[in-house]
Structure formats: structure tokens, C-alpha cells
């Protein structure tokens, strides 16, 4: 017994000693540590999730960038661009080098597009309407589109430029001349011009990046020297790590109460908004949702104020703001922020009275995605809201995989589905076309099965308008129409909230005039500042 006690005491003493000499405690000030949901896909041709986007925006560059603080785009790897008919010609900067030291040329741009289209993965569908790209000279490239597509420039924020020479020197096994298009290599290594180089990558554990000293725009001294992007940390672990000063920025997926606790402990809250919204989708092919009056009744009965309260993190910051319509504030066609949607039970009852179906004749199926527990709370909210109209409903939990399969057939699609939808390029086309155009019905984004000629017309006009004024007009009309026919309940405009230590400043996620309006781009490490 005495020996055991002695051993335990010795272990405790050693523990204390070793914890004091732990080098992690004296971590260098220039290291930024953040986390995201696994996995981190490093191949830019396959990037689609949030972690992938963070990697892409830092290891690679694009021809244009979203303008900070407002709509529009500015040149980045391109010096300038012009469009004529269905062609867009970009003049490239001549001072850009890849991390390998190879100069960036028009050939690399053509290769990047060809590779993206050949892989057919990630967000490659954005370039389905591009016929081809051609290098006119070393620093001029032209994209030829199959048909007019106004959001094309916006799509280019998702075309990272890859070092052709490096990829060609590292082709893996595969058929044809291009073999695997460098997939094996690019899944483990970077080949971009970006401000950060990958030094280690494990898609489930961590990606380590370091400043690229040769970055064509230079990287400020205050920007993090090293970035450690960790994957798949549990909420309890992140909370402990941040509280102990061993982590700097959380993912947006922490439960609100954990973010709140961290904020109460002194953490700052960073936000990213303007690219997506929470939609309650109504299957317009099924009774009673095939009657517009019933849909309007449910839209008006939804308690928008309670929904926003449910996602509040602190008194000032919430994971969303009140919706003003089908399009989030800040995008083309959005209503002004003061036109928020409100519950109107009397109007709802009036519409229900005009609906050809009577409440006693149907029971609504309210589904929620099993992987998003928050949706269960919204399902309960709706059940209570609709009960006030005398409507019966049953709540149904659906795993994502099953949901995605069910919505492929209108008869299997629930009356109500809940979805968070984002514009992957920041442009309303990528937010709305997939949701509401009649040709895209039956995907996870479009369980409404909407078939409305007017909506289709405005969506096409938004794609083909010659200028921003034309696009604004088209999307404003679309917004109005979507409200009139109540294809969905437009729950709230989404805002991502991240808890962060005070040793890092992130202007793009704390100052609206510096915000990019594109998911993940706020994590441009070169624009961050380490204060310790």
C-alpha cells in the first residue's frame, strides 16, 4: 500500500514538472490555431466545404476577389478584364510566381479551368457554361462562354489557379494523357500562388501552413507566421483549448451556448454574413401546399421573431438576422434591412380560409435534418405556430443521406423541409437558381418542386442582364414574386459566428467595411494580425 502511494505521489510530482516544461505553454506568438469540421480537402479542384475554402483562399489565388464591404469584384491575379458578347478577356499580372518559383501565366489559367472541368467535382458545375479558355499570349487569357452568364466574373472566385508545370511533373496513375490530373499530388501538396504554403497536411487531423515569403502582394509582418488548421475538434475540447489560450478561432459549428460561455470568458466574437439564409421549404406538389393560400397562411403564421431569438448568442450577436424576403440583405434584389418579415396570425387565418383544403383534412409532415439539432427546435416552433391555425402536424427526423434521396421524388418529399442555403460565389444566382428554377427541381436545394414561369423568367434575366442595374431589377422582381407565391418560409438571414481569442485581429470578420461577402474568405490569413 505504501509503495502504491509513493508511486502515485511520484507520478503527480512528475506531472507537475513536465507540465511546466511543456513547450506548448511557450508557443510562439506568430502561430494561429483554428479548427473546422473534417476533412480538409486540399485539392482546389474538389474544394466545396468550408474547410476546403479556407485552404483554397490561402494556398491559391483567383483572377478576381470579391470587393470588401460591398457588392462587386476587384482584380487580383488579373490586372484588368473586359467582356464582349460571350467572351471575357483577362490581362494577367506579370509579377506573380507560384510557390514553386514558376511564373504564373495564361497557360496555368487554361490548365486550371480544364482540370476543374475534367474532374467534375467540387464546384466545377459553376463552369459548365464555359466553352473553353484560351491563352492569347503569356499574360492574356480569354474565356468563351456557351451563352450569356452575368455571374461569370463572380464564379471566378471559385477558380483557383494551379501551377501547371508542378502538376504535370507529379501526375499519378490514371488513364489517358493527363492520367490522374495530379489528384494524388494535390490532395497532399499545395501548388498555388497563395500567401501561405502547406508544410504538413492530414485531412482528418491538421493542415499546417507557413507564410509564403515570395507572395506577390507581400504579407504583413503582423500576419500569422504559421497557421495550424485543426479538424474535427469537439465543442468541449475547443472550449477548453480557447479558455487555456491554446486555440485562437473556433469553427462556426459550436453550439450557441458554448460560444456564449466563451464570450462571457472574454473571447471576441467574429461574424460572417450576407451569403445565405435559413429556408423552410414547402413541397408545392403536395396537398395542401399546392394551394398558394395555404402556403401564405403558413408563412404568415411562422414566428420570425422567436426564430431569431432562438439563435441569439449574446444580446448583440446572433447566428442570424431577421429576414426581409427571399434574398439576404446585401445581395442584388434584397429588400432594405428595415422591411423585416413579421408574424401576422389574423392574415394567416384569412388566407387559410381561402385555401381549398381545410385544416381537419390534412396533417403536415415537418421534417428536420438529423445532423442539425437546431432544426428540431424550429420544427417544434412551427408545430406550435401552425397549431394556432388549427393545423395538425407531425415532426419527422431525417438523416441527411435519407433526405437527399427522398427529395428526388416529389411524392416522397415531406410537406416541409428545413435548409440552410448559401451562395457559393456570393452571387444571388448561386443562391437562387438551384432552389427555384423549374429545371432544377428535385435536388436537396429544391424540395419545393416549384414550377413558376415568372420565377424562371426573372432567374434567367438575372443571369443574362448586361449590367448591375439590370440584375438588381431582375432579382428585386424575383424577390417580390417569391414572396407573393410563398414558395418557402424565409426564416432568417444567416450569420456565422466564431469565438476567438484576443491575440488575433480579423478585420474581414469584425469590420463590415472589410467584409468579403463570401463564405470562408474572411479567413484570409494574410489580412489577419497577431497581437502577441
Amino acid at each position: 500500500m505504501k509503495r502504491i502511494t509513493t508511486t502515485m505521489a511520484a507520478a503527480a510530482v512528475t506531472a507537475t514538472a513536465l507540465s511546466v516544461i511543456d513547450p506548448a505553454a511557450a508557443l510562439a506568438g506568430g502561430v494561429l490555431r483554428l479548427d473546422e469540421v473534417a476533412v480538409g480537402e486540399l485539392d482546389p479542384g474538389k474544394a466545396s466545404d468550408y474547410a476546403d475554402s479556407i485552404l483554397m483562399f490561402n494556398v491559391y489565388d483567383t483572377l478576381v476577389l470579391p470587393k470588401q464591404g460591398g457588392p462587386g469584384h476587384v482584380s487580383h491575379l488579373a490586372e484588368s478584364w473586359e467582356s464582349e458578347g460571350n467572351s471575357y478577356t483577362f490581362k494577367l499580372r506579370s509579377d506573380v510566381k507560384f510557390q514553386s518559383g514558376n511564373p504564373m501565366t495564361a497557360e496555368d489559367v487554361v490548365f486550371s479551368l480544364d482540370r476543374m472541368k475534367a474532374l467534375g467535382a467540387g464546384l466545377s458545375y459553376l463552369f459548365a457554361g464555359v466553352e473553353n479558355a484560351e491563352a492569347l499570349d503569356e499574360h492574356t487569357v480569354r474565356f468563351n462562354l456557351k451563352q450569356p452568364y452575368a455571374p461569370f466574373v463572380a464564379s471566378l472566385v471559385r477558380l483557383p489557379i494551379v501551377d501547371k508545370k508542378t502538376v504535370m511533373a507529379n501526375l499519378g496513375d490514371g488513364d489517358g494523357e493527363m492520367k490522374d490530373w495530379g489528384q494524388a499530388y494535390l490532395s497532399a501538396n499545395g501548388a498555388g500562388t497563395g500567401a501561405y504554403k502547406v508544410t504538413a497536411h492530414n485531412p482528418q487531423e491538421e493542415t499546417v501552413m507557413e507564410k509564403n515569403a515570395g507572395y506577390f502582394l507581400g504579407v504583413a509582418d503582423a500576419a500569422p507566421d504559421t497557421v495550424r488548421l485543426r479538424y474535427g475538434l469537439e465543442a468541449a475540447t475547443v472550449r477548453t483549448l480557447i479558455a487555456q489560450g491554446e486555440h485562437d478561432i473556433s469553427s462556426q459549428w459550436l453550439p450557441p451556448e458554448v460560444i456564449k460561455a466563451l464570450a462571457a470568458g472574454g473571447a471576441q466574437l467574429l461574424t460572417e454574413s450576407g451569403t445565405g439564409a435559413f429556408y423552410v421549404k414547402m413541397n408545392t406538389t403536395k396537398a395542401p401546399m399546392d394551394d398558394v393560400h395555404c402556403r401564405l397562411a403558413f408563412s404568415l403564421a411562422f414566428d420570425y421573431e422567436a426564430a431569431v431569438k432562438m439563435i441569439a448568442v449574446t444580446d448583440d450577436i446572433s447566428q442570424g438576422s431577421a429576414a426581409t424576403g427571399a434574398i439576404p440583405v446585401g445581395m442584388f434584389g434584397a429588400n432594405s434591412p428595415d422591411q423585416i418579415l413579421k408574424r401576422d396570425l389574423d392574415a394567416a387565418k384569412a388566407h387559410l380560409a381561402e385555401c381549398k383544403y381545410k385544416p381537419e383534412d390534412f396533417t403536415l409532415e415537418l421534417s428536420w435534418i438529423a445532423e442539425v439539432p437546431l432544426e428540431e427546435r424550429f420544427a417544434l416552433l412551427m408545430q406550435a405556430n401552425f397549431a394556432e391555425l388549427g393545423v395538425k402536424s407531425e415532426i419527422k427526423k431525417l438523416p441527411w443521406a435519407l433526405f437527399a434521396e427522398q427529395v428526388s421524388k416529389p411524392e416522397n418529399t415531406p410537406h416541409i423541409s428545413q435548409l440552410f442555403v448559401n451562395a457559393v460565389t456570393g452571387d444571388p444566382d448561386t443562391l437562387l437558381y438551384g432552389q427555384y428554377h423549374s429545371t432544377t427541381a428535385g435536388t436537396w436545394q429544391s424540395p419545393e418542386y416549384l414550377n413558376d414561369a415568372e420565377v424562371d423568367q426573372y432567374l434567367e434575366a438575372g443571369r443574362t442582364a448586361a449590367d448591375d442595374a439590370g440584375r438588381q431589377a431582375a432579382y428585386a422582381a424575383l424577390n417580390k414574386r417569391l414572396m407573393e407565391i410563398a414558395a418557402s418560409v424565409y426564416g432568417y438571414d444567416r450569420q456565422s459566428v466564431f469565438a476567438a481569442s484576443n491575440r488575433v485581429k480579423v478585420p474581414a470578420m469584425s469590420d463590415p467595411s472589410k467584409a468579403f461577402g463570401l463564405d470562408g474568405m474572411g479567413f484570409s490569413f494574410r489580412l489577419m494580425e497577431m497581437t502577441e
Partner: protein
């Protein structure tokens, strides 16, 4: 053929049959759970054409028997396919994640034996006294709460309130150790970096202890129960009458016959830790195979599910064989039973 070789051959043969059965079962189960793997793998933004192309590439358009044929043909070449979750060969993923989990459960297993058995001996030797009651209480606590509860409690106590241990990962960021075996405790020694070794050792203490606690409790309780029974046997009385010291009686005469049931349970616990490690790995951000296994199941990553289950099954079977051999080594009656009639 010696009895031990005969036993080993027999066990290897049955293990192979079990592995083939497991592969068929998991191959079928992975394909009947709801959800289209191609759709899940490509994410919500993929077009129907992209999904269809991937379905063709995975042979999902063929019947399940043909798909299994493709799988076996690939397996014969050591190819488990590409993970749709990490976009890497499944063998690469397993080679990367398995050592982390094995290292964790080996250390947990050592704790289970190194702490559980002595606690059982102490408890039996001081039967009915304070030490016995204390050990029984601690054992009960260990057995009654699952590993992940202990993981969170230990993290809160010894990493958050009393910051003695690290919270996450296998080693501090400041160390870069070239992988040789994938076992950091070994690789740090191979690199001759003893500070890194102690750092890695310090990182493994809490997760391994959380994982081992239930086994420690079980080993202590079982050892105690068996030893208490053994203490009533006549040969113990005889040892006492010969004047052997209490410690010698406990360690030499009472413990050895009591070890066999404990060893069987420890062996099973050891293998079961592969599955239980998931939540402990999640809490301590331990980049191991259990966490990978759950992630691939949730994403219906067919190749990775089958690969991971096969590896875990193989490890389970190997552990069972080792335990059988150990028991045969300890208990001569088992060795003799393998002799030809």
C-alpha cells in the same frame, strides 16, 4: 506438431473464416443502409451528372455479388480502394490512423493490467478492510461510467481546472517527428528526442487512462473475486501452515490460478477498446482509426467502412489468439488438451 503450434494453427484457420464472413457481412450492410454514397461523397452542390459518374466508377450500377467480386480482386492486390471521405487510398488512411489508436489502446491496456491487477490483489489480500472497500468503490465507479464520461471529467479536472495535462493531440505543436512506425512513443525514441518522448507520453496519459478506467475496474473486481475464492482452497491453507509470508501467498499461490479468467476478460476488453476509443479520440482530438471509422460510417464511405471494419476485426482476432496463447502458457491443462489422442 507441438500442442502450441497446433493451437495456433487452429485459431488462425478459424480467424480467417471469421474474417471472410465479416467482409461479406459488412460489404452487404454498408450497401443496404439508406443514402446514396456518391451523393453524400460529392456533397450538396454536386450535379446529377457528377453523382452518376461516381456511381459508375464505384460499380454501384452492378449487383452486389459483382461488386463483392471487384472488392476481393482489389483486396488480393492489397488495394482497399479510395476513401470518398478523405480522397486518399483507404490503405494510406489506415496506415496513418491505426498506429495512433493502437498506441492509445496499448498504453490503456498496460494501465489496465498494471493498475487493475495489483488493485485486485490488494483488495483480496486486505479483504473486508478499508483498502478493500476503497478499491471496490473505485472499481465500481470505473465500470459504471462509460469511457467518454471519464474523458470529459478527466479533461475538466486535470486539463481545465488543474492544467497539468495537455488537452488535445498526440504531441505539442513545437515538435516535428518524422514518422517511422507511426507510434509516436517509439518514433520519438528512434529520433533520440527524449523531450519529445516525454511530451508524447504526457499527451497519452489522460486519453489512455479514460479508456482504461472501465477495464481497470473490471480487472480489479474479477481478480479480487477469483483470489478470494482461491484463498479458501486447501493449498493456500497449506502454504499458510508452512509459514509463507502473506505477500508471497498472495502473489505466488493465490494470484496465478486467479489470473486466467482475468486474462480472458482483459483480452476481450483490450480488443473492445478499439471500438470504445471513438469518443475518447473525439474528446482529446486524437487522430486515430476509431474516429475515422465513425466518420466514414456517417458518410457512407463504402471502401473505408469495409477496410476499417476488416482491420478492427483482424486486430480483435489477433488479440484473442494472443490471449489464448498466454492462457495456454499459464495453464498447462490447455496445452495438453491440444495433444493428439
Amino acid at each position: 506438431m507441438s500442442p502450441v503450434v497446433r493451437l495456433l494453427t487452429k485459431r488462425l484457420g478459424t480467424s480467417l473464416i471469421v474474417l471472410v464472413g465479416v467482409s461479406m457481412l459488412i460489404f452487404a450492410i454498408a450497401r443496404v443502409i439508406p443514402g446514396d454514397p456518391a451523393r453524400i461523397a460529392l456533397g450538396p452542390n454536386a450535379t446529377p451528372e457528377q453523382v452518376e459518374n461516381l456511381r459508375l466508377a464505384l460499380h454501384l450500377d452492378r449487383n452486389i455479388a459483382v461488386q463483392y467480386g471487384y472488392f476481393i480482386a482489389d483486396l488480393a492486390r492489397g488495394d482497399l480502394g479510395v476513401s470518398l471521405y478523405t480522397n486518399r487510398p483507404v490503405t494510406t488512411d489506415i496506415a496513418q490512423f491505426l498506429p495512433a489508436t493502437l498506441e492509445l489502446i496499448i498504453v490503456a491496456g498496460i494501465m489496465m493490467i498494471g493498475i487493475g491487477l495489483p488493485l485486485g490483489i490488494v483488495s483480496a489480500r486486505y479483504r473486508g478492510r478499508a483498502a478493500d472497500n476503497l478499491v471496490r468503490l473505485v472499481s465500481l465507479l470505473g465500470v459504471s461510467a462509460p469511457s467518454f464520461v471519464w474523458a470529459v471529467i478527466l479533461m475538466l479536472l486535470f486539463a481545465f481546472f488543474l492544467p497539468l495535462f495537455p488537452i488535445a493531440g498526440r504531441i505539442s505543436d513545437s515538435y516535428t517527428i518524422a514518422p517511422v512506425t507511426g507510434f509516436l512513443l517509439v518514433d520519438t525514441l528512434v529520433a533520440g528526442n527524449f523531450r519529445a518522448f516525454s511530451n508524447a507520453a504526457w499527451h497519452i496519459v489522460l486519453p489512455a487512462f479514460a479508456l482504461a478506467l472501465s477495464g481497470i475496474g473490471q480487472a480489479a473486481r474479477l481478480t479480487r473475486a477469483n483470489m478470494v475464492e482461491t484463498y479458501d482452497k486447501p493449498f493456500i491453507e497449506m502454504a499458510r501452515s508452512y509459514g509463507f509470508a502473506d505477500r508471497r501467498i498472495a502473489n505466488r499461490f493465490a494470484f496465478r490460478p486467479s489470473l486466467i479468467p482475468s486474462l480472458t476478460i482483459i483480452g476481450l476488453d483490450f480488443a473492445a477498446m478499439l471500438g470504445n476509443a471513438f469518443l475518447v479520440e473525439a474528446v482529446f482530438a486524437w487522430p486515430g482509426l476509431s474516429r475515422y471509422g465513425v466518420a466514414v460510417i456517417l458518410r457512407k464511405d463504402l471502401n473505408a467502412i469495409v477496410g476499417t471494419v476488416l482491420i478492427i476485426s483482424a486486430t480483435f482476432l489477433i488479440m484473442n489468439i494472443i490471449v489464448d496463447l498466454l492462457i495456454a502458457f499459464i495453464n498447462p491443462r490447455i496445452r495438453y488438451s491440444q495433444r493428439p489422442a
